[in-house]
Amino acid sequence: MNGGATGLQGLRIFVVEDEALVAMNLEMMLEELGCAVVGPAMRFDAAEAMLAEGVAVDAAVLDVNVGGRPVFPLAERLAAAGIPVVFATGYGREGLAEGWATRPVLQKPYLAADLARALRRALAD
């Protein structure tokens, strides 16, 4: 995929994903879309620490379950900072907590095109 054609090039994307292989693939997809990856944070406390320090990002892709902990407290902090959020999960939309059900969701496994679509939707909302 050509980074110049995605409409996402140059964006900084915060990634929280607890599976190393999945995180690596997501990182690769984002790079192909022309995005810069912040993270990936693979553990809840690591993600929390990064947020506490303050991350300058345009959007975030969050795994719903991070090492057995729901990601929603992190999603709330990002949303409060006005940062659009895309969820990624093996559970599908049913896995989303109340209040988040209308946000873009990526059902694992997903393609780069699905990721691009979800990010564009999140940024447009």
Partner: protein, 486 residues
């Protein structure tokens, strides 16, 4: 009691009663008997029954046999459906009218205990016979037929009594719960064993539902009972949730019931109560919930595994020089992942033992060139998969460029846990291979090691490309380790 005049009481009984002695002569008869036989008492007393009312047919023989049985055995006997014609009053057209009777013969003992008299109570069952005839069309008339039926009826009566007891036992012990509630307050008049188990073996009979099961107030059931009692319309539910005290003195427990409420009506169609029946579905509902959870978890795991496989595929393809190499690398990585899954599923995804993981992952290599040393360590599922894939990448690399690429090199693999609750350190040290130089680019293998150890497990990974041999030191945090045996 002294004031009761038994003679007047006998006379006042509305159905015909009479008493005969051992010679079957009348010694007493009440007013109802006088009416149906159209004989006055003075005409009856002292006279033989069959002298006054000759009965040479089958009916007479059955009556005589019954009298003999009562006088011999001292037990009550019943003769059902005896045909006996009586004269029709002139006002109703005169002539004879065919009527049917059921007679009950009760022994009356003297002071010495011997059966001295027999009391007969007759009930006019003509209407019942006519109903039976109507119900048994086509009906062949004739007394023989009827008598056959009479015998049948007596047998049925006896069978019914036995059956009724059987039915009660059946209801009592049935796996479903049954209860009979009576009146507008829903008073328990019957509750079987299953019902008693459902409510912690509480005493129910004689109590209104509200009093017997106070915890169901406000759960909608009393309102349903009231509605069924008022309207006669049945009601019920499937897998309905109810909080019940299933053990005395214990908190209420969530239960799920399939049940129905049906109105009970008397002979006139008036509602007298509610019949409750149902099944306790609590275990089924719980099992279904557990299965739902397991299925969700399985689905989640499958999707995540597919995402991992997707990642291995796309990154292997990206970094391989040609398709044949890509295919071999891809298959080997999938097998490493699959081996780790096998070990975990053997332990129901609770843990895997490090030594077993390493033995499995290195099974393809010459044992004599591997030196494994360390305590028995149980790893979490996450750490198990990480270690399996990391060791796979290290071994593949050694076979390609390092100590396992010639005939003499060796790999030492040592692991230690400093103290319980502390992290695990693993050292991979290659010796005797070709001279080592640092790689020019970072491949998928080293990214896997970095990603799993530093990223996923929150540990550290130090690699050293010393000329005498590659080495790698991994430090995994304490939460990757479930237990250690030295």
């Amino acid at each position: 009691m002294a004031d009761v005049n038994f003679e007047r009481l006998f006379d006042a009984l509305s159905s015909p009663h009479m008493v005969i002695d051992r010679e079957w002569r009348f010694v007493a008869a009440n007013a109802a008997y006088e009416r149906v036989t159209m004989r006055r008492r003075e005409e009856l007393m002292g006279r033989g029954l069959f002298e006054l009312f000759p009965n040479e047919g089958e009916g007479g023989r059955r009556l005589k046999a019954s009298f003999s049985r009562v006088f011999e055995t001292g037990e009550t006997d019943t003769v059902a459906f005896i045909p006996y014609d009586i004269p029709r009053p002139e006002a109703q057209g005169g002539g004879m009218e065919k009527r049917y009777w059921t007679a009950t013969h009760i022994p009356i003992r003297d002071a010495g205990g011997a059966v001295a008299f027999l009391m007969q109570n007759t009930v006019d069952v003509t209407d019942i016979v006519r109903l039976r005839e109507a119900a048994n069309l086509p009906f062949r008339s004739g007394e023989t037929q009827l008598l056959e039926r009479a015998r049948e009826a007596e047998e049925q009566h006896r069978a019914l009594m036995a059956e009724s007891a059987d039915f009660r036992r059946l209801f009592q012990q049935a796996p479903g719960f049954f209860a009979v509630l009576s009146g507008p307050d829903h008073v328990f008049t019957f509750a079987n064993d299953a019902y008693a188990r459902l409510v912690g073996e509480r005493a129910l009979v004689g109590k209104p539902v509200r009093e017997a099961l106070p915890e169901i107030e406000g759960q909608g059931f009393l309102e349903m009972l009231d509605a069924v009692y008022a309207s006669g319309e049945p009601a019920g539910g499937e897998a309905m949730r109810v909080m019940l005290r299933r053990t005395p003195g214990q908190p209420l427990q969530e239960s799920f019931l399939d049940f129905s409420y049906d109105a009970i009506r008397d002979a006139h169609g008036r509602i007298t109560g509610v019949f409750v029946q149902g099944m306790d579905r609590t275990e089924t509902v719980r099992t279904q919930r557990r299965q739902r959870l397991l299925l969700d978890e399985l689905n989640h795991r499958v999707k995540n595994t597919l995402a991992s496989v997707q990642s291995i595929a796309s990154q292997t393809l990206r970094s391989a020089p040609d398709l044949a190499t890509a295919r071999r690398s891809f298959e080997a990585r999938i097998m490493a992942l699959s081996n780790a899954h096998n070990l975990l599923s053997r332990e129901e995804w609770s843990s895997a033992e490090l030594r077993t993981l390493l033995d499995n992952g290195l099974a393809a290599y010459d044992e004599s060139r591997l030196e494994l040393d360390g305590p028995a360590v149980m790893l979490t599922p996450k750490a198990s998969i990480a270690v399996a894939l990391v060791v796979h990448e290290l071994a593949t690399n050694a076979a390609k460029y390092g100590a396992l690429s010639n005939d003499t090199g060796t790999v030492g693999l040592r692991w230690r846990v400093a103290a319980a609750g502390e992290g695990l350190s693993v050292e991979w040290r290659e010796r005797g291979g070709p001279p080592v130089s640092p790689p020019t680019r970072r491949g998928f293998g080293s990214r896997i090691i970095e990603g799993f150890v530093a990223g996923e497990l929150g540990g550290t990974c130090d690699v050293d490309y010393a000329p005498e041999g590659f080495s790698c030191r991994l430090a995994l945090p304490g939460d990757a380790v479930l237990g250690v045996w030295r």
